[in-house]
């Protein structure tokens, strides 16, 4: 969407991009879909295409409408306005049991009275598959999620991680056109969650199935998804690859929601088609950024700089634009990263983060040290809203 052709954005290159191909037909299309609950508009005229084989994430804070959007695709909610099509076919009026999508529920919703194998077989039984075919598919699924020995356990005899895998296997077993995952890893602890994120990605690659994940956890969305749709109050704020929404956010909301960001409110003074110059009371030496889009001289804009793109200097670098001076107000040591909170003379606090790439540091930074922060013009993003 907001990708700038001249800049290579992000550290990842992927050739998989069906959304960039104008002749590609989407698997699922949300067309101006609106849903209201009472007076509240949960989903507001959302249009969205998801392509075959894609791992798509709906990301947003709770109550932004992401779950409602997914439940409308599964058939548990009916849109008030707009259309949802799957493979070109309108889904309106089709009850959940006749839709070729399966959902993995946030609570897993495993049937407590059935064994693991019976849970996985449930969808296949509804399809009236022959017995031996069901048994073979169940074994295949158990192997896929590495639960071979637990076929005859009941759900309450499983750990959280095992339940999660049974829920996944149960939803995949009927070979749906698309798998819907509602906060699938929310109930797992941190370590297990990280492992499972990569497993989920590998699984999706292996099956070649289209995955739609709903999450409020940006890390989960960034790791797993090909594209992320950031939602805000029922609307789509931005759609793009993880690197695009992180490195080229289209608004202050997206910049702030995904990761940490330092925002400088500034006035545009010069635009030579390549470098934009801005002035801000918080940066006495001026600001500079590389930006392809034209921005009117004299208009207000926000300069967004990620903490890890701020360099911390103990000796003053040569004066010039993108140089800030302040004192260290706080230091957060995380092991792999260190975050510095630097207070500017005006009282504003700026975040700078540094990867702890080596064990030994010549001159460690101390509280109340006088420091200078700089950043490269191509590290800053100019935002107009």
């Amino acid at each position: 969407m907001n990708a700038k052709p001249r800049l290579n954005i992000g550290a990842v290159r992927s050739s998989f991009a069906p959304w960039a191909d104008p002749s590609a037909k989407p698997l699922v299309r949300f067309d101006q879909v609106t849903k209201r609950f009472g007076g509240e508009t949960a989903v507001d005229a959302v249009s969205l295409d998801i392509y075959e084989g894609e791992f798509f994430a709906l990301l947003g804070p709770s109550g932004c409408g992401k779950s409602t959007l997914m439940r409308m695709l599964a058939g548990f909610e009916t849109p008030d306005l707009g259309r949802i099509t799957l493979g070109g076919e309108d889904l309106a009026g089709r009850p959940p049991h006749l839709r070729p999508v399966n959902m993995m529920f946030q609570s897993y919703a495993l049937f407590p009275h059935l064994t693991v194998a019976q849970n996985i077989a449930f969808g296949l039984r509804q399809q009236k598959k022959p017995k031996d075919e069901i048994a073979a598919r169940v074994d295949e699924m158990l192997a896929l999620v590495r639960l071979e020995g637990l076929a005859h356990r009941k759900p309450d005899q499983l750990s959280g991680g095992q339940k999660q895998r049974v829920a996944l296997a149960r939803a995949i077993a009927p070979k749906p056109r698309m798998l819907l995952l509602d906060e699938p890893l929310g109930a797992l602890d941190r370590k297990l969650r990280e492992e499972t994120q990569f497993e989920l990605m590998a699984l999706q690659q292996r099956l070649g199935m289209t995955f739609l994940i709903v999450t409020h956890d940006q890390e989960e969305a960034m790791i797993t998804a090909d594209r992320i749709a950031v939602m805000r109050a029922g609307q789509l704020a931005q759609i793009g690859r993880p690197a695009e929404v992180y490195e080229a956010p289209n608004s202050r909301y997206v910049a702030d929601f995904i990761g940490d960001v330092n925002l400088f409110e500034a006035r545009v003074t010069e635009d030579d088609g390549d470098i934009i110059r801005l002035v801000s009371p918080e940066a006495p030496e001026g600001l500079e950024a590389i930006e392809d889009d034209e921005i009117a001289i004299g208009s207000t804009a926000w300069l967004a700089v990620r903490p890890e793109k701020m360099r911390v200097h103990l000796d003053p670098p040569p004066p010039g634009p993108n140089r800030l001076e302040g004192t260290v107000a706080d230091i957060g040591y995380l092991g792999d990263w260190t975050t510095y909170l630097v207070e500017l003379p005006g009282g504003r606090t700026i975040r700078a983060a540094r990867a702890n790439a080596s064990r030994v540091v010549d001159r460690p930074v101390d509280w109340d040290d006088k420091v200078w922060l700089t950043f490269a013009p191509d590290s800053a993003v100019v935002l107009t809203r």
């Binding site: 599964a74 058939g75 548990f76 009850p95 959940p96 049991h97 006749l98 999508v101 399966n102 959902m103 529920f105 946030q106 609570s107 919703a109 049937f111 407590p112 009275h113 449930f122 969808g123 509804q126 399809q127 309450d156 149960r170 939803a171 009927p174």
Partner: protein, 263 residues
């Protein structure tokens, strides 16, 4: 620190339990009395149980009671489960509070009033009183109990389970039959047991709504007692107590299982 029960605790328990169960214990003991006189102990015997099973009238009344209890409990459980589903699942609708309190009203309504109003209804409609009228009356009486029991379980039932079943290709009725029903089955069984025992020992409503040929056991016992207590009455009462106690214990065990099975 845990201490054993004090003398006061023991006295309180003995008094309370004695107050509750002494009359029943006496009745059970005297049902095994050899003597024809109810108040004089003449040695242990089961002769009244034997003669009870030769008393056609009492046996006929017992048979009516069991049939009424069975049919009305089944009907009340089905209707009560449906009502509970409606109350729990329908979400917020206009008049929901009114509707749910109306379901509970018979719980606190005096049985005399319920019996009288049913009698008036049957007379107004012109139905001859007999087996079916008692059965319907008992369904009315026990329906609200059944609703309360099933509703309590449904409230804690994760609706996502039924959604998951529908998502996996089961039509709504099948999702209910395959997933919801097996999981609320202990509560449904408990509701049936409760309805059955309530119907079994009801005297008031039965006496308003029964007719000739449909005399229930409590009515038979009541009228027999007015003519003088026979040890046979003690015997059948003991059997009735046994049946009701079994029912109550079964309900308790079912509800325990339900609790431990809950996640």
């Amino acid at each position: 620190m845990r201490r054993g029960p004090s003398a006061f605790n023991i006295a309180a328990i003995v008094l309370g339990m004695g107050f509750l169960y002494l009359p029943i214990a006496l009745l059970v003991i005297y049902s095994f009395n050899e003597s024809r006189l109810v108040t004089v102990w003449g040695g242990f015997s089961t002769r009244w149980y034997v003669s009870l099973f030769q008393n056609e009238q009492l046996l006929a009344a017992a048979w009516v009671t069991l049939r009424v209890a069975f049919v009305s409990a089944t009907l009340a459980t089905i209707l009560g489960t449906l009502a509970a589903l409606g109350l729990v699942r329908a979400g917020r609708f206009r008049g929901r509070t009114l509707f749910s309190s109306m379901t509970y009203a018979p719980l606190v309504m005096p049985e005399v009033i319920l019996g009288l109003s049913l009698l008036l209804l049957f007379v107004a409609v012109g139905v001859a009183r007999g087996f079916w009228t008692v059965m319907i009356a008992h369904t009315t009486l026990t329906l609200c109990y059944a609703t309360v029991v099933v509703q309590a379980r449904l409230v804690s039932f994760d609706e996502a389970l039924e959604e998951a079943a529908r998502d996996l290709g089961a039509p709504p009725w099948k999702a209910f039959a395959l997933v919801t029903l097996p999981n609320i089955a202990p509560a449904v069984a408990a509701a049936w047991m409760l309805a059955f025992t309530l119907s079994l020992d009801d005297l008031v409503i039965a006496s308003f709504t029964s007719g000739p040929g449909a005399t229930t056991l409590p009515i038979r016992i009541y009228s027999a007692v007015r003519l003088g207590v026979s040890p046979e009455i003690n015997a059948i009462s003991t059997l009735l107590i046994g049946l009701v106690a079994t029912g109550v214990i079964a309900v308790y065990l079912l509800s325990m299982r339900r609790r431990t099975a809950a996640p």
